[in-house]
């Protein structure tokens, strides 16, 4: 059962390549590019309508592809989204390789869904064959996660990103909190300070970005409703102008201004949904993924700690333990270094993305108000000109 225990973790908890004795190509060079984890890729595939441009965003640096890294892995190209994770470096455990790729859309009369090709290569005895290829959909992943959680309640089962284009549901958020608490109780003792800081940042960032996501969605909704009412508002003035003589022009003018502002609102809304909402949502998913990453790092550390503890209490074979500890120490060091390097890069990207998204939002609003201003000002000018004309007519 042990081998099987680890198999499911293999998908998302990649372990450092440079760990003792492992001959992984590329050494432990940190992977450049945006940190898209398997779960993130999953999310993107699900969320996006096979729109390649969107996929581009999440795989900015398609360069890397190293068969390694603790740090979440990059796709080689947007389309293939190959997720190759090596499990552990020890030769005796390098026996299970899984890739997930080729998303495909299926349309039936009842529903539309996406399936992914899962290729499993293994040398393990438990498997009947050495290579398997299956197609699974999101529901199936969910089922697997649930079965694993049932069977192994104390192990950390990796996150599955959310299925739909929305923020994490209440239950998953609660689940996260519970796990986070459980983890923090376990990991706090030995976690180095910089990772404490990092963890703290991630927690708060996650909270805030989720809130911003909600706020932004709400703003969109309110603007939509404002737009709907405005559409009705203008025409009433036209209706009124039909029963007036002297006021008809002024009323029609007001109606036309309202209609133009209405169109400007529509434009503002679409700008919001193109520039701001997707970026915020992307970082909501990032924040979930990052929390998973932290957990995995902590878990690796915890493994080391437990072995060290075992050694000191002299419970098992000292020599074997010492060897294992040595390897684990290297593993931990690699994990930490990879994460540290990746972290700075991710933060820089985040800063740029957020800055640019909000700047765009501000620009959309400025443009909206400028358009409306021009409309009303030109109406006002026409009215005062008319007034002057009329006044001079009266005098003559």
């Amino acid at each position: 059962m042990e081998g099987e225990c680890r198999a499911p973790q293999a998908r998302s908890s990649g372990l450092p390549a440079g760990g003792g004795g492992g001959e992984s190509p590329g050494g432990d060079a940190p992977l450049p590019g945006s940190s898209g984890s398997s779960s993130l890729l999953q999310a993107e595939v699900l969320d996006l309508d096979e729109d390649e441009d969107d996929l581009e965003v999440f795989s900015k640096d398609a360069s890397l592809m190293d068969m390694n890294s603790f740090s979440p892995v990059m796709p080689t190209s947007p389309l293939s989204m190959i997720n190759q994770v090596k499990f552990e470096d020890e030769p005796d455990l390098k026996d299970l390789f899984i890739t997930v790729d080729e998303p495909e859309s299926h349309v039936t009369t009842i529903e539309t869904f996406i399936t992914y090709r899962i290729i499993t290569k293994t040398s393990r005895g438990e498997f009947d064959s050495s290579e398997f290829e299956v197609r699974r959909r999101y529901q199936d992943f969910l089922w697997l996660k649930e079965r694993l959680e049932e069977a192994h309640p104390t192990l950390i089962i990796p996150e599955l990103s959310s299925h739909k284009k929305q923020g994490p549901g209440l239950l998953s958020r609660m689940g996260q909190t519970v796990r986070a608490v459980a983890l923090s109780m376990r990991g706090v003792k030995s976690r180095p300070e910089e990772f404490m800081e990092m963890n703290n940042f991630i927690e708060i960032f996650s909270q805030k970005i989720n809130l911003i996501d909600k706020i932004s969605q709400r703003i969109y909704k309110e603007e939509r409703e404002y737009f709907d009412e405005m559409k009705e508002y203008g025409p009433i003035h036209i209706l009124w102008s039909a029963s007036e003589e002297d006021l008809a022009d002024t009323l029609k003018g007001v109606a036309s201004c309202i209609d133009k502002c209405c169109k400007a609102t529509e434009k503002r809304m679409s700008g919001l949904s193109e520039a701001l909402l997707p970026v915020v949502h992307e970082y909501v998913l990032y924040s979930e993924m990052l929390m998973g990453v932290m957990k995995r790092r902590d878990q690796i550390q915890a493994e080391l700690d437990s072995k060290v503890e075992a050694l000191t209490s002299k419970k098992a074979d000292t020599d074997l333990l010492t060897e294992e500890i040595g390897k684990l120490e290297d593993k931990v060091e690699c994990a930490n270094n990879a994460l540290k390097a990746d972290w700075e890069r991710w933060k820089q990207n985040m800063q740029n993305d957020i800055k640019s998204a909000f700047t765009d939002m501000a620009e959309e609003n400025i443009h909206y108000y400028e358009q409306c201003l021009a409309t009303w000002e030109s109406f006002l000018t026409s009215q005062t000109d008319l007034h002057l004309e009329e006044a001079s007519e009266d005098k003559s």
Binding site: F205, E229, Y233, D246, E363, W376
Partner: protein, 450 residues
């Protein structure tokens, strides 16, 4: 309304000319343009109207509102709002104003005044009172009559009402109006003593006339249609405006949440922190700016509401015309029928049904003397009837002439006021846009520094 507020001076000529409660007091046609033009031109300007007893200009203001408790007619405790009305006379030379009168009135007294004016000046489009209960509210506004915002807007509305009456060339001369401004105690009794409630046309009579009148003046029929349309379209507009205001409020206020979250987020950021924090501040400014914007819009809505209620005043004048016309038609019909009776009696040809004819058949012919007597009575009645018809005709014509003059005056006023209101709406929108540009430009700068 804007104009009324900014130009509070109105010439008031209390005129003991018209005996108290004289119903035809207002029928003399007054040259409207003089008053109108003078109003536009503001203080210090010339011509006073003839028969003017006071050469001073008068300023009227409803300056305060106060909650009071008292006992009502059924001796029950009640809470109501009282409004302070101050009248000032303006010295011609130096423009200084001196407080001449100051008293408190409640809304029901205003209503009493207006009902009196409606009865005694049926040919005048009597200015409306502000609404009794808050309508067309959007969610932020309370529909409660005691709500301070409502009370404030009502105070302005009541002041506007008084200014409208005071600037009307005919209404301003009314004694009861003058007493309303100057005699606190006993005013209600004075009004009631005029007996105006009895003189009022019953609703039923008016309704009957509206259905049965055959030949109303076409202009009044058209005016009635116009006032129906005006009422309907302004109601619709006010309703949608309230909904738009609601939505706009939502958009602005949700942005305020950004302020809070940005501020919290900035705590964990080193480089982005300052930018986030200051951007958040601008989001707060943006969110709170909507309150003033919508308050201004509420004044605009009040201006439209005044004309919504004016529509009813227009209809009242039309109803009066229909009533008089119907009355006239009935009188003419009655006269014609009597003439015919008379003719039949004289010639012996009974074509029309009459009770006398029936009884004659049943009980026998009448004597020539009896017939003569009856003819005489009828001839007298016919004479009377002709006199009445003549005077009714004249009254009707007078009414139409004077009413139409006031309607023309009203149309001018309406076009002027509504145009101004619409333009002020545009000005409000412009101001809102400018504020928006400023806030978002500031925010953008903060974002770019992140």
């Amino acid at each position: 309304m804007e104009q009324a507020l900014s130009d509070p001076e109105r010439r008031l000529q209390p005129a003991p000319l018209e005996p108290l409660g004289h119903p035809d007091g207002g029928l003399e046609s007054v040259v409207g343009e003089e008053a109108e033009g003078a109003r536009d031109e503001g203080p210090g300007d010339g011509t006073m109207m003839e028969n003017n007893f006071w050469l001073k200009k008068i300023e009227i203001s409803v300056s305060e509102a106060e909650k009071r408790t008292g006992r009502n007619a059924m001796n029950m405790q009640e809470t109501y709002t009282a409004y302070l009305i101050e009248t000032r006379s303006v010295e011609h030379i130096d423009g200084q104003s001196v407080l001449t009168d100051s008293l408190w009135r409640r809304y029901s007294e205003f209503e009493l005044l207006r009902n009196y004016l409606l009865v005694y000046y049926p040919h005048i489009v009597v200015p409306p009172l502000p609404e009794k209960r808050a309508e067309f509210v959007w969610h932020k506004l309370s529909a409660d009559n005691m709500d301070p915002d409502f009370v404030e807007r009502r105070r302005i509305g009541l002041e506007n009402f008084l200014l409208r009456v005071a600037s009307h060339p005919i209404l301003c001369r009314d004694k009861i109006f003058y007493l309303f401004l100057t005699q606190e105690g006993n005013w209600k009794e004075t009004v009631n003593e005029t007996g105006f409630q009895l003189k009022a046309d019953s609703r039923l009579k008016a309704l009957n006339a509206t259905f049965r009148v055959k030949n109303p003046d076409k202009r009044f029929t058209e005016l009635k249609h116009y006032s129906d349309e005006l009422q309907s379209v302004i109601s619709h507009l006010l309703r949608v405006r309230a909904r738009v205001a609601d939505r706009l409020y939502g958009v602005y206020k949700v942005h305020g949440n950004y302020g809070r979250v940005f501020s919290e987020w900035s705590a964990i950021e080193k480089e982005m922190g300052d930018g986030l924090q200051s951007a958040g501040h601008h989001m707060d400014v943006y969110a709170s700016s909507i309150d003033d914007i919508l308050e201004d819009e509420e004044h605009y809505a009040d201006q439209l509401k005044e004309y919504l209620f004016y529509a009813e005043a227009l209809r009242a004048v039309c109803r009066k015309h229909e009533l008089m016309q119907y009355d006239l038609e009935m009188a003419a019909q009655d006269l014609a029928s009597k003439k015919q009776q008379c003719e039949e009696l004289a010639t012996g040809n009974v074509r029309t049904f009459s009770l006398k004819g029936m009884t004659t058949k049943l009980f026998g012919q009448e004597t020539p003397e009896q017939r003569e007597a009856r003819i005489k009575v009828l001839e007298e009645q016919i004479n009377e009837g002709e006199q009445q018809l003549k005077s009714k005709n004249q009254e009707g014509r007078e009414f139409v002439k004077n009413a139409w003059a006031d309607i023309e005056r009203f149309k001018e006023q309406k076009n002027h006021d509504l145009k101004e209101a619409l333009i002020s709406y545009a000005v409000m929108q412009i101001s809102m846009c400018k504020k928006g540009i400023q806030v978002w430009t500031n925010a953008k700068e903060c974002f770019s520094k992140m």
